[in-house]
Symmetry: C2
Subunit: 205 residues, 2 copies
């Protein structure tokens, strides 16, 4: 039988990725679906569309709506949320840490921790001190080594490769769930993506 899996493509600056990151593991486990966590950067994608900032900052009505919608959606799902004093925060180092770590066991807890630091505790997720603390809290056995690896050319290249792959696959925002060639954009498409992942594995059994 084929394994059931789903890719979660996320960007640390993205608000709705916070919701997906907090919910995905429990929801996937219920359906027996394995989650692959893939960090990428929205900056290059947005710049190729002529945006030099988050669309939520460029288009004020959309931004005002998003902050209110995040409050409601997080409340509905029982996810803590507080609008941060800076948006978007620079998630480059955090993304490189995850890109370098690939599938190490502490990755999901670290990703959730980074989102909570940014979108609940209003902490600076670009700070290596903050990231070191979050790595430790997530159970990473060697936080200093994980941070060092994130600064190496291999980690930088891997993250660039992820972003290039995202563009090649037609990803234009975050979070995006990928099941085979099907894309599902936005935290509110998580259930549909999981249903397809579970079904695809059954059909392929």
């Amino acid at each position: 039988m084929e394994s059931k899996s789903l890719e979660l493509w996320f960007e640390f600056g993205s608000t709705y990725s916070h919701i997906a990151a907090q919910l995905i593991e429990a929801a996937a486990a219920q359906r027996g679906v394995e989650v692959r966590w893939i960090p990428f950067l929205l900056g290059p994608i947005f710049r190729s569309q002529g945006w030099n900032d988050s669309p939520f900052n460029i288009y004020p009505a959309k931004g005002a709506y998003m902050w209110r919608d995040m409050e409601r959606e997080c409340a509905r799902h029982g996810i803590p949320f507080r609008r941060p004093s800076q948006f978007p925060r620079n998630g480059l180092t955090a993304a490189r840490i995850v890109a370098a770590a690939a599938r190490e066991a502490w990755v999901p807890a670290f990703v959730r921790g980074v989102y909570l630091a940014n979108f609940t505790d209003d902490r600076d997720i670009a700070s290596t001190a903050v990231l070191g603390e979050l790595l430790e809290a997530a159970g990473c056995p060697a936080p200093a080594a994980a941070l060092e690896r994130a600064g190496a050319p291999e980690a930088k290249q891997r993250l660039r490769d992820h972003t290039d792959s995202a563009i090649a696959r037609g990803i234009f925002g975050a979070p995006t769930f990928c099941v085979g060639d099907e894309l599902f954009w936005g935290s509110d498409r998580m259930e549909q993506a999981l249903a397809l992942a579970a079904e695809s594995a059954r059909d392929g059994a």
Copy 2:
């Protein structure tokens, strides 16, 4: 007891408004919520953001995703859907017909009919012949008079007023559900909007 009501702000060119239009009445009736149908134009809103076309045409990855997502979402809800040969179609006259008609009984059926004509039957909803036929099918007692009213200055001004009100309320896309001051953007927020409408009326009872 206060009446339970929700406003559906829609634009005839908008794909996801098709989903909302087809689903809203049955879903609202289940909760005892009254629907107010408010047509507006996205063109002036998009132009104020520097867009002279649908963002789904300007940003190809987003557009490709939307057409696939529409197929999936319509299939999930049992709504017929076929990608039209022209997008977006000009819904100006249709919107003026609804703006002029206000709350006449045939309005919901006419709105649904226009969306089905565009997004299922690939018909030109800018054509007065098509619109006349759709008015008749919706039970409008005097299609010719409804079309004539749509061309009068009052109808044009009413639609402009709707669009101005949409901007003033922070609406930036369609469909948008309004419950008091709360906005819910996108067909996938319909249930949350209906739940709030039902709850607000209970609290105000």
